[in-house]
Structure formats: C-alpha cells, structure tokens
C-alpha cells in the first residue's frame, strides 16, 4: 500500500508538547450519596455540535453529546492538572500520573486495564500537556457502562504502590529517551521554554527532570493524587451513540459516590516582560543540519490576542503561498522547512518560528529574512486578499475540527475546562471572523518585536565543555 499515502517531508513536528501514554491506582471508598443535577442547555443549528452539560454534587462537570453516525461511544475524563502543577523539585508529576493511573484500581487488577479495554473491542489512551491530562476510551456503544465504570474506578480508588511507581519510572525514562534524547530536534521545546520563562513552571519540561522522578517518594505521589485527581477538578464527557437519560443515570451511579476534594489554588508566578533580545545556543548530538529558532512569549490561550497570533502563524507559514514558505523555501531556496507555531497554553503561550537551512545558508541570514517578513506584519496591514484567504483557511479548519466523535469529546472537555466556555465549540469561528486586519498589525506590534524575542541557534553536536 506504499505510494498511496501522500509523501511529505516534515522533518520536525512540534506536536510533541503532549506526552502520551498508555497506563494506573488509589483512594478509599467513601461516599457521599446523592447528587443533584444542574441543567443545562442544548442548542443547535445545522452543523453545530449539540451537547448538554451539568454538575454532580461532588463538583464533577458532565458533558453529553449524542451522535448516531456509528454505534460507537467515547468516554473521557479531563483533569485540570498538567506539567505546570508541581512543587519545586517534583517536575513531571502529571505525566508520571498519566502512566500510573493505568496500573490498576481496587476492582481492576494490575495489568488488566488494557486487556479489559481491548477485550471489549475498545481502544484507549491518555495524554498530558502543561495544563491538563486527558484520559479516554472509545468502545462499541454497547460497552458504555464499562467505560464509565473504568473511568470512575480510576477517579475513586486507583492503586498507587511502590511496584507501579518503580515500573513507570523506568517506562517514563524510556519515553524521554525515545521522544527527546534519541530524537533529532527533540530538545526544541525544552530550549524554547527555558529561554522564555524564568519563574513560571512552564520553564521546565512537561515530562520533568528524571532526578525529580527518582527522588519522589510514595507519599509524594499519593498526596499528588489526593490533591488533583478529584471530581471537582475534572470534566467527564460521554459522546456518541448514547441514550441520554440512561447515560445520566449510569453517570450518577458510578461517579456520584466519589468524594469531592479540596479546592485547588493555582498561584503561579507572573513573568516580567522580555525587553531585550535573548540569545542562546543549544546542541543536539542527533542532528546534522542546524536549525534556527526565533521565539516570543505570548498571552494565554483564552486571550483574544492568542487567536490573532494563530492567524499570524497561518499567514506566515500555512500553505505554499504563505509568506515565509513562499519566500524561504520556494523562491529563495534558503530553507528546507519553515514553520511558525503558536503553542497555546493556559497562562502564557510560546510563539516560535523554526527554520532548517538548505545547503550553506547561514542561520543569521534566515533570521534576517524572517524578521523582514514579521516586520511587514508590524508595519503595514496585510492585503485584503490575504485576509480573505486567512478567513477561508479558518473556515475549513472549523469544519474539519468537529469531524470525529472522539475529537468532539476532546474539544468539549477542553473548551469547558481550560477556556471556561463549552459553547466555543460552535462559536470559536466567530472570534476568528471578528478579527480585523488592523488588529493583526496591532498584535504583531504588541508581541513580535525583536527586543521581545529569543533567538536560539540549535546546533549539531555535544555542548562544548565549559
């Protein structure tokens, strides 16, 4: 079947900021019975995603979405805990938990999680960002109750013990080697974060420092679980071929008795603005071709400016007629690959332009060429035609965004938990539509000036001895 798939030569992908697993653990069984449902809403026009949402007494937010296209159901839980939620010296805990919470529960033996899922025709996985952790299963629709049972087991009483901690410690180290240490350009996001942040936990890798995981005691791990993996810090999404009243009843039965946790306070340090260009060099022994990275610190993803920055990224590097691609890759043949990425995060974003030179092109030359294009966005309005092109692109993205039930489940959870507005699943496109050319220029001036950036030379080889 080779030759069928389109061939694309993307050497570096930056989707790496999510850690992904595959894995489990504890608590006691205690219950506060009873729950009441707060109502919510259903709306819909053509192509809108219909959903219904409410809270259980213990604070668990529930979102239901019905789609009868295929007899399939997704059950998922997003916890508002990610790489940034840690105390000093204990980085990487959220991702470590992503692994640990597949180890077993009071009623699911160690090692049985994956077996149960696949023995019922399902699939499952989890992923962790700096801001949240997402666990999900997809089953044939006749296994809905199983999915709810499993996720409620994970929330109510996972087994967290030394055996699990030791095994997953090794597994995570292998994941780090595989994804970063043995992988060409694997250090990019680490080096960008390290240079853009001084105080905020975003400065440290999502996967954590291995010494921190080694130093973690079983007590540390259990305390982390009790703090963050509680219903009032989670959202449950059930999407697919479901019967709404039946589903609600099952959700109440399985999740209702889970005790509420203490309120969580997130009080992370604020960064002082970058006013002088930061210059840095990073070495990667797994590469042969150097790379240039220009990075800017940008606002959190709920800010309107973050949406504008998405549009600027598309303007610069999405598609063959985009400014940077056309100039550097196509016309001037200086770059093998160029990409502008708006890495959206809750508290601050990272905006970066990444380039791989062709042949003998110097990194400085690339940086000058890139700045020239960014300066144009700061100094003048983009053309009417380019503006319309951007709108068309975002319209297509919007249509594609809700094309699978599994994807819709993830988006519903994200919009509720991180953006604070589930309805964005239908309304986000209106934000993009309302962004003007003037605003694009304004935002470029606000965040993308040379004195606000970090310029990183990413070079082949080992770092020289100091």
């Amino acid at each position: 079947m080779d030759g069928f798939s389109e061939k694309r030569y993307i050497i570096v992908t930056l989707s790496l900021y999510l850690q992904r697993t595959t894995q489990y653990d504890i608590m006691r069984k205690l219950l506060l019975p009873g729950m009441c449902l707060i109502l919510a809403v259903t709306v819909l026009k053509a192509q809108e995603v219909e959903y219904e949402e409410y809270d259980l007494d213990n604070g668990l937010h529930v979102i239901l979405h019905q789609d009868e296209t295929a007899p399939v159901v997704t059950t998922s839980v997003m916890y508002h805990v990610g790489g940034k939620d840690r105390t000093k010296g204990r980085t990487g805990f959220a991702h470590f938990f992503e692994h640990l919470l597949f180890e077993g529960t009071k009623n699911i033996d160690r090692g049985d999680w994956f077996k149960i899922v696949s023995a019922h025709g399902g699939k499952n996985n989890a992923n962790t960002s700096q801001d949240r952790t997402y666990y999900y299963e997809v089953f044939p629709s006749n296994e809905l109750e199983l999915g709810l049972w499993m996720e409620s087991e994970r929330m109510l009483h996972p087994i967290i013990d030394q055996v699990g901690v030791d095994t997953q410690n090794e597994v995570v180290k292998e994941e780090k080697r595989l994804r970063y240490d043995n992988s060409p350009y694997g250090q990019i996001l680490f080096t960008v974060a390290e240079n853009l942040f001084e105080k905020h936990p975003y400065k440290d890798p999502n996967i954590g420092y291995m010494k921190d995981l080694d130093a973690a005691t079983l007590e540390d791990v259990k305390a982390y679980n009790e703090k963050y993996y509680v219903p009032n810090n989670a959202v449950l999404v059930v999407a697919g071929d479901i019967d709404i009243p039946e589903t609600k009843k099952m959700i109440g039965d399985y999740f209702g008795p889970i005790p509420k946790g203490a309120d969580i306070v997130r009080d992370y340090p604020t960064e002082t603005p970058i006013t002088t260009q930061i210059e840095a060099t990073t070495y990667d022994p797994n590469i042969q071709i150097p790379a240039s990275i220009i990075a800017y610190r940008t606002p959190g993803f709920t800010e309107r400016d973050a949406y504008v920055l998405d549009m600027i990224s598309a303007y610069l590097s999405d598609g063959k007629s985009s400014k940077l691609y056309k100039k550097l890759v196509d016309d001037q043949k200086q770059a093998l690959q160029v990409g502008a990425y708006n890495i959206a995060q809750e508290d601050y974003g990272m905006y970066l332009v990444f380039t791989l030179p062709v042949g003998e092109t110097a990194l400085d030359t690339l940086n000058t060429e890139i700045e020239e294009e960014i300066a144009k966005v700061r100094d003048s309005l983009i053309s009417e035609k380019d503006y319309q092109k951007l709108q068309n692109k975002f319209q297509t993205r919007f249509v594609n965004a809700n094309s699978s039930v599994e994807g819709i489940a993830g988006s519903l959870a994200t919009y509720f938990m991180l953006y604070g507005d589930t309805e964005l699943i239908n309304k986000e496109i209106e934000i993009y539509r309302s962004i003007t050319r003037e605003e694009i220029q304004e935002v470029a001036n606000k965040y993308l000036k040379p004195n606000q950036r970090a310029v990183i030379d990413y070079l082949p080889g080992e770092a020289p001895e100091q």
Binding site: D2, G3, K7, R8, Y9, I11, T22, P33, G34, M35, C36, L37, I38, A70, P71, N107, F114, K115, V117, S118, A119, H120, G121, P140, S141, N142, E145, Q168, N169, E170, V171, E174, R177, L178, D181, N182, P184, K248, K249, D253, Y254, N286, I287, Q288, G319, K320, S321, K333, L336, L356, V358, K389, N392, K393, Q395, T396, R397, V399, N402, V405
Partner: protein, 484 residues
Amino acid sequence: MKQSYLTLVLAFFAVGTYAQIDRSTMPESGPAPEIKLKDPQTFQMKNGLEVLVVENHKLPRVSIQLRIDNAPVPEGDKAGVSSLTGSLLGKGSKNISKDDYNEEVDFLGARINFGPQSAYASGLSKYFPRLLELMADAAIHPNFTQEEFEKEKQKMLTRLEAQEKDVKAIAGKVSAALAYTKAHPYGEFATEETVNNVVLEDVEKFYTDYFVPANAYLVVVGDVNFKEVKKLVEEFFAPWAKATPPTLTFSVPSDALYTQINFVNVPNAVQSEITTENLVDLKMKDPDYLPALLANEILGGGGEGRLFLNLREDKGYTYGSYSRLGDDKYAPARFRTVASVRNAVTDSSVVELLKEIGNIRSTPVSQEELENTKAKYIGRFVMALEDPQTIAEYALNIETEDLPEDFYETYLERIKAVSVEDVQKAAQQYIKPGKTRIVVTGKASEVLPNLQNISFNGKTIPIKYFDKQAEPTEKPEDGAENQG
C-alpha cells in the same frame, strides 16, 4: 421558563432512581450493536480510471484521492527519482503557474498534495468543482522545469544529510535493505550518489511511464452528489491518455540462513533500535490471513500484546514494543518485532523478543487471549464505520487485492470462527525464529560487549556488522573492549 421547568423535573426524576451499584464486578456488555455496511457508487472511464464515490453530507467538506496501484518500481542507481517526481508534481501545470496555483489552493482554504503515483485534495465542498479541476490539471499536465528540479534535488540532499544521525531512520533503512537487498524496490534507498545521478529527463520518464490511468482509482468522499461528480470527473480527467505502465522484474529476496545479529554502530545513540525480521509470503486473500493477523496481534499488537506486557510493563526496558505482520500482493512482506530500549538492556531485550517469538509458535495461545483479541478486531471494525472513507477503502481493497465481494460482509463471522489451532498454524507458517535477522542500531561501546554474549538455543548468536548504508563492515573498534 417552560424549558427549565421541564429539565428540573427530569433531573429530580433522575436523582430518585439512582441505584446501588456493585462496582466490584465489571459491567455486562449490552446487546451487540447492529452494523450497516454501505457500498460506494462507482463508474469507470474509457481511459481505465475507476471512480468510487461515497456521499456523506454530515459536514460541508470533500476529499479527493487519486491512487495508482502499480507494481513496485526498482529505481537502482537512480534511487530517489520517484520521490523527486512526487515533489515536482503539483507545482502548477502547463496551464497555470506555480505561484498562481499555490495562491488559489490556499485561497480556497484547501489542500492539494502529490506523491509519485498519487494525489490528494481536500477542502470545503462548495469548492469541489474547482478543486477537482486544479488537481486533475496538475496531474495530467505537469510542468517539470529544470529550475524546480534543481531546487527539489538540493532539498532532497539536505534531507538525506539530516537523517545521518537519526537512529530510527538509519534502523528503518538498514533493516529493509538487509531483508530485501538493495537490488529490490523495497530494500533500495536514495543516497547522495543516486540522487545526483537523476536528471530532469528521468523524472519526466518516470512520470510518463507510471503516472498513467491503467491501474488508477479516484475516490471522492463527502458532501457531493454522484451525478455531479461523474460529470465533472469525466470532463476533467478525459485528457488523461490511456496507457499501461511497463512491467519490470526484480530479484526475489530470501531469508537469513540462520538467526543472526546485524549490528549498525551509531555513536550518538542513547537508545538501541531493535528490529527482528523475517520475510513472509502473505496476501490479504490468503485463507490464513485473519489467523495470521490475530497471531501477530496477540504477540505484539498493542498495549495488551505480549511484547508490551513483557518488555514494558514487566521489565520497564522500553516505552513500547510491538510486532508487525505485513501483507503484499507483489513481493514478500515482513514479519517484524520492534523495540527502542536503553543501551544497558539491549542484550536482555533481544533475548526477551526471541523468547516471545519462540513461544507464540511453540505454545497454543490461551482461549482467553484469542477471544480478547477477536473482540479487539471486532471493535476496530465497528469504530472504523464512523469514517466515510472506510466504505471506499473496503471497496478499493476488494478490487485491488482480488478479494471476494463479501470479504467485509463476512469479516466478523470469519474472525469469530478462528480457532486456537488456526492461530498456532499461522504463527508457525509466518514466524521463523531460526531464520531471524536481528538488526540492532545503537552505540557500539555501550551495547556490543553484552550483545556478543547472547545465546539462543544454547548457541551464541553470531554478529555481523554493517554501516549506515547497509554495507558489511568491520567490527567497530570502540565496541571491542570488555569482551567475555
């Protein structure tokens, strides 16, 4: 007002009915959902192009896929010519300049990409006619120029250079070359030298020879209307002249004569890439195709496969270990197991992989494993139905793999009918522990000393050394110390 009143009533009703559940036992499955398989609408053009259309009006979008199902093409000392052809396609056409073409595709918010013998376009369905026209135009009237050729060649050379220290890329290239030899289309790979041998005329010839409609399929899926698709396809693809690709022969690869380690030294590696491989003669239409898939799945199909449970969950050697069983109608495919492991446990991982490979043949799988794995296949089949592409893909497989018309209608029944004996027989047929090539790509100084001492069935496994181009080489010097 009325609305919220109603909701409240429902809510109270729900509260009242919460049952005391027994969470100590796993919930029972509900009745199995009903499965509906639809057929795509099809027609064939005079030039040979077969067209499959799946109407799906859920979202206002469309995808168009052109696939040319030719036999593999040996590229020899011009390896890279197919890739270059793919890169040069889609750069406008004889009728529209590259810049105008790119601008228009982007303006439509659409995508069009080309491979050496394929094309893919997607976008909003309101732009379908123009999108189809743009794709057909670039496919049928490509504009190959010396300037673009030089540019793509330079980029390809830079990409090859970029891979030089990439452990995974090296492992992938070398393991294929060793399994098939570099004289076979599946084993050859592009190098600086072969890319430099290619000239623009070679690209033009490759295109003329292989980008032809005899074995071509066009698959349109989305918010479209069959009649309109038929009319437009017949219009835009009419200029595509009827032609059949040349038939080429290539060598028949053979397995390693005995189980051996093939070591590739990559000094920057912090993990070793391990691939065990042997050739298999397996086609989708073979009667033991499904039992073979199930055997492979039980061994290393995913997070509940034996390899994953052993090497990751039990030993913590790796982030994941899997097995893959290929099928191919043109040439032998490969059975492989893979793991990326830290340097210190490379030898132990090889031993565990060999153990598991041996076990799946020698010992019948348990009834439970088999049932669980069947359920996984059944679930996967059900889940795939959500995607309208599935319908087209099934129809294409029936056509291109020479399958019985009811292959997918009877798929679930046939999965259910597979027995423990069938699985073991298939494992014995396709997994060859005595003729396994174990390709280890890693850091010699840390890995070799222990690797040299592995024994299998009481004998030390011989090691042969290869460079990154899959050529035999001397044992690396820095791996020699510590021996025995």
